[in-house]
């Protein structure tokens, strides 16, 4: 839609913008680290106690405390923490007895895979449904779509997950059950990206690929349904606002065909606010849906974080929070960039 700017000045401008973008992102990330770190120190959980256990003697306790560096001033501890994080060291998890970074590298891709498929379903269906409802405002199609979207708002995730399993897995047998793959496919492909679909496709192992997709499709569809509800409602209301604008009448006066009035004149301007909506929905899905992950025994970040919280596993909690926060920052920045690309007024 837009002309690519190619003059040297424009190029320098975008390089400068990119540099500014990187600095702002980095600063936000450091701020995020500060907040998670200090919250981690303030809450009444004793990280030493969760390591040594409550039967340790005072000497053992003190020794562990010094070994963990908790006797140093808070600022020093924070700097050490920042240094560790930038080296990819998120500490050791007491509940899994593995480095947190390793744990996250295992659980986050599982969530990423489900959330990505979920948001694709949510956008792929939610946006057209929202546009359709707005174009047919007040008709039965509009009402039907609104009721459908309202369901996505009000039905609890665990209920839909269980019913989905009962109907499509136990009853109809259309999809596979909980877990990422069937037990005999587990560990068959080498985890390169951690995304089961990508890894199996890279390995050319299509049996695993189809099995993983079979496992993924139901929870992803349910997640997608929830984001669809939000996306369709927002799309509809943005579209209604657009369709009442004068330039829509202008387009009709010109004799432009109705589908073009809706998609070119009505939809184009709402891509900008929609990006924010989609970005937020995606970020929310990436946080990991504890409900869905629990129902589907999905080894994702939501599950991991819950277990870590219940075990007072501070390093794991901080690490997972950091990853989720970083995802939020990244998606927000990304929608900012897209925003600027799509709206000529913000250039």
């Amino acid at each position: 839609m837009s002309r690519i700017q190619s003059s040297p000045a424009a190029l320098r401008g975008s390089v400068g913008a990119l540099g500014g973008f990187a600095i702002v992102t980095l600063l936000t990330f450091v701020g995020l680290m500060a907040i998670t770190f200090f919250i981690g120190r303030v809450i009444p959980i004793d990280p030493v106690l969760s390591v040594v256990g409550d039967r340790a003697t005072q000497e053992q306790y003190d020794a562990a405390r010094v070994a963990m560096g908790l006797d140093r001033p808070l600022a020093v501890q924070f700097l050490a923490y920042v240094g560790d994080v930038f080296q990819g060291n998120l500490g050791h998890s007491v509940s899994t007895n593995r480095p947190v970074a390793e744990d996250l590298a295992r659980v986050f891709p599982a969530t990423l895979e489900m959330a990505t498929l979920g948001i694709i379903i949510g956008v792929g269906m939610g946006v057209p449904l929202g546009v359709w409802a707005a174009a047919r405002q007040g008709t039965w199609i509009d009402h039907l779509i609104r009721v459908f979207a309202l369901l996505g708002y009000s039905v609890p995730a665990f209920w839909l997950g269980l019913v989905g399993l009962v109907v499509f897995y136990a009853g109809l047998g259309w999809v596979s059950g909980p877990g990422r793959v069937d037990i005999f496919y587990e560990g068959v492909v080498e985890p390169r990206s951690g995304l089961m679909l990508v890894d199996s496709a890279l390995a050319g192992d299509w049996d695993v690929f189809w099995n993983a997709l079979d496992h993924l499709i139901l929870p992803a569809t349910i997640l997608g349904f929830f984001s669809l509800a939000y996306i369709a409602r927002m799309t509809r209301s943005f579209m209604l606002d657009q369709l009442g604008q004068e330039y829509i009448t202008t387009a009709r006066v010109k004799g432009v065909a109705e589908w073009r009035v809706i998609w070119t004149h009505g939809f184009r301007p709402i891509r900008v606010p929609l990006i924010t909506v989609i970005g937020l929905s995606y970020a929310a899905l990436l946080e990991g849906s504890v409900m869905i992950e629990t129902v589907f025994s999905w080894p994702g970040i939501g599950n991991y974080l819950t277990v870590a919280l219940l075990n007072a596993d501070m390093n794991a909690v901080l690490g997972a929070t950091l990853v989720i926060g970083a995802v939020f920052i990244l998606i927000n920045k990304l929608s900012d960039v897209l925003y600027r690309m799509l709206d000529p007024r913000s250039r």
Binding site: E246, Y247, T249, T250, R252, V253, K254, H265
Partner: protein, 279 residues
């Protein structure tokens, strides 16, 4: 050119539903238009804009329109399918909208928007479209049209926006142009420019013009015939030159409220509505 009228309207009615039943905003409007310039004057809510939209069959739901007769160049507009009606819109009947700030699409370049008006109705090579757009922009006196084509509407002034609007609406060479308050959103200094431009283009191409405005003087200056609307009805219909002989008290009131250069009155009279509405 045949002498058969361009547009014939008989008993046009436009109504909107309200909780208290349907309210008619246009109550039986009739006129015949040749390739001439007709002015429709009236206050806000008199139904003049709805008349313009009804001719294009663009009264938005839940509004409804019907007429005993609505023919354009011998075509019965009432019976035309929506598809055929679309072929007519822009190509043969076009409308200049009020405020370019709102009536131009903010995320499409000016060139794209003008080209769309042309491409909707004519199959042309990309180069020919470009040439026609440039030519049209020159016709509406836009300097450096190549540069302007790549601009977005927020990057141009109101007067320029309205000239772009005119270019967009005239590029498919319509036979009838409806101008709905084309200058109300513009500075006084550019109003005359824009109207002179419309006037010139309409005369050159021998088009019919319906100029909708609340400004009696303006309409008298640019039109051959004038309809004065009030509360959905035509209260006065006369040649522009005969306006000073108007008989209806509403028209007389409006005329009396217009200040003149050689003014001797201390105070301008306020429109006395009891004279005709009986309330």
């Amino acid at each position: 050119m045949s002498q058969s009228p361009l547009l014939e309207l008989e008993n046009l009615r436009v109504s909107f539903p309200t909780p208290k039943g349907r309210v008619e905003v246009v109550k039986g409007l009739s006129f015949t238009l040749g390739r001439e310039r007709l002015g429709i004057v009236g206050e806000s809510g008199s139904g003049k804009s709805m008349t313009g939209r009804a001719i294009l069959r663009l009264v938005r739901r839940p509004g409804q329109q019907d007429a005993d007769k609505m023919t354009f160049d011998g075509i019965d507009l009432r019976r035309l399918s929506e598809r055929r009606m679309r072929d007519l819109r822009g190509a043969r009947i076009s409308m200049i909208m009020q405020d370019p700030k709102f009536s131009l699409n903010p995320v499409m370049t000016i060139g794209e928007q003008i080209a769309e008006a042309l491409r909707t109705h004519e199959r042309l090579a990309r180069r020919d479209v470009q040439a026609r757009v440039l030519q049209m922009l020159e016709a509406v006196r836009i300097n450096d049209p190549k540069r302007v084509m790549a601009l977005y509407p927020h990057e141009v002034s109101g007067g320029m926006g309205q000239r772009i609007m005119i270019a967009m609406m005239l590029i498919p060479r319509p036979d009838l142009l409806i101008a709905d308050e084309p200058t109300s959103a513009l500075d006084v200094s550019v109003q005359a420019q824009v109207l002179d431009l419309i006037d010139e283009l309409v005369r050159d191409k021998g088009m019919g013009l319906i100029l909708i405005s609340h400004d009696l003087n303006l309409v008298a200056r640019y039109c051959d015939h004038i309809l004065v609307m009030h509360a959905g009805q035509v209260v006065e219909s006369c040649a522009a030159s005969e306006l000073h002989n108007a008989t209806h008290p509403y028209t007389r009131g409006l005329l009396a409220a217009v200040p003149r250069m050689e003014e001797t009155r201390e105070e301008l009279p306020v429109l006395d509505r009891s004279a005709w509405s009986g309330t």
